[in-house]
Symmetry: C2
DNA sequence: AATTAACGCTTTGTATACAAAAGGTCAATG
DNA sequence: CATTGACCTTTTGTATACAAAGCGTTAATT
């Protein structure tokens, strides 16, 4: 199994809590690998900012409220831009993919049962897929490259846990707005709608921050 | 010596040319280290996009004209934002540092002799310092984190080689405009001036792209 | 002569052993 | 009793050895 992906997932899912020290030996034993590949994985995570260096070794990064605000500011900037460019350069195929992702997102929301982890994971996945299609539709791979390394992920994942039905439906509506703006090549509308959408997400995270931090292990079942 | 820094510098300075394969063994011999720290350095560079993975090993990344346009688009977005935020949140100390960097930039430009590598290096350094002060003055460390990993660096470095006196002076003037906009807390002006400044830099790179690519080794004299 | 298969060489991926540094504990001394 | 210093343990940093996977070259067969 790939050490990098494993550790990253574990951090995102909360299996390794913020502040927790990541010892090479213990990870090596857990993944049944030697320390060498573990070290490489850790170096990568470090350069993405998911773990912070200690005097010796690293620990899982802790995000303050301020961090979250700043990271979301960055994300609105980049994804807002991506949406505006997508509106200019989208192909018919891009539109198809966006519709596909959004339809699945809608279905997942309809299937949604309060606090059911699997349905939350579905929702998270299709939401992410929708955003990814847009980012790749903007035809600037470097944006994609950076956004994929933007460190927002860990808390976002768990934030959906606290969405109620209304908020999910609202999120879906905004997706539709974004989609049609991009389809109509209305660049500025796409940018604004996306920006607003991300701010709404940020507000959710900030509103439930204390609770979110308390979800630690969202039961791993995606291991192979 | 630190393998990561060494290899990165070598790529930026053109010692390792785009497309060149980086073998672990040969790097290890060159740096008088074993393969282990080399591998870690390479993994980091890979996650920053400075080298691209091959089937086996990595090679120095090659940037097309399109890449450069897209990377500069990203950079205007981020640094334009950074300038606008810096205008809002700058401290007196920030202003002092900006002035300091810019004064040295001016001196370096006055000392400038055509095609003298040391004077070009000075100019590059103080220019970079000015930009860094602004980015850190925006009080969003995440912006800094990403911009420092934005992959623009390699060609920018060499682009100064082709600036003539007029262009250097113009660049200095724009710096002053940016500085005073930030000092006056004129956020939008700071953003626009910065954006324009970066576009000018981009145009320089694009105009001399073929020539820039041909500068390979800017004579290493920064080795220890 | 051309095509394919096999062998060997080169280079990466992984494990392990050894060196060095950091942190903690215990004892000695002021 | 507190503070400091030395030693001991733990964990990281580096080197090296070994396994496995590409790649090229050569030879054999059609």
């Amino acid at each position: 199994m790939d050490a990098y992906k494993y550790i990253k997932e574990a951090i995102i899912h909360g299996k390794y809590e913020p502040g927790m020290r990541l010892g090479e030996e213990s990870l090596a034993k857990e993944l049944k690998l030697s320390r060498t590949p573990i070290r490489e994985a850790i170096k990568q995570l470090e350069s993405e900012g998911l773990v912070t260096p200690l005097k010796r070794g690293v620990s899982v990064r802790h995000f303050t409220r301020e961090d979250i605000q700043q990271i979301y500011d960055l994300r609105t900037l980049l994804e807002g831009y991506a949406a505006s460019q997508a509106a200019l350069y989208r192909t018919d195929e891009d539109i198809e993919k966006m519709k596909e992702a959004n339809d699945r997102y809608e279905e997942a929301i309809e299937r949604y049962k309060e606090a059911d982890l699997n349905s939350i994971k579905e929702i998270v996945n299709f939401n992410q897929q929708f955003h990814e299609v847009i980012i790749s539709a903007c035809k600037n791979p470097h944006i994609y490259f950076h956004l994929s390394k933007v460190v927002v992920v860990p808390l976002v994942f768990r934030s959906f846990y606290w969405y109620d039905e209304f908020e999910l439906k609202r999120s879906l509506e905004v997706h539709k707005t974004i989609l049609s703006a991009i389809q109509n090549q209305d660049s500025e509308r796409a940018r604004v709608a996306m920006t607003e959408h991300i701010y709404q997400g940020r507000d959710q995270v900030l509103a439930h921050l204390e609770e979110i931090k308390k979800i630690h292990v969202l039961k791993e079942d995606t291991h192979d």
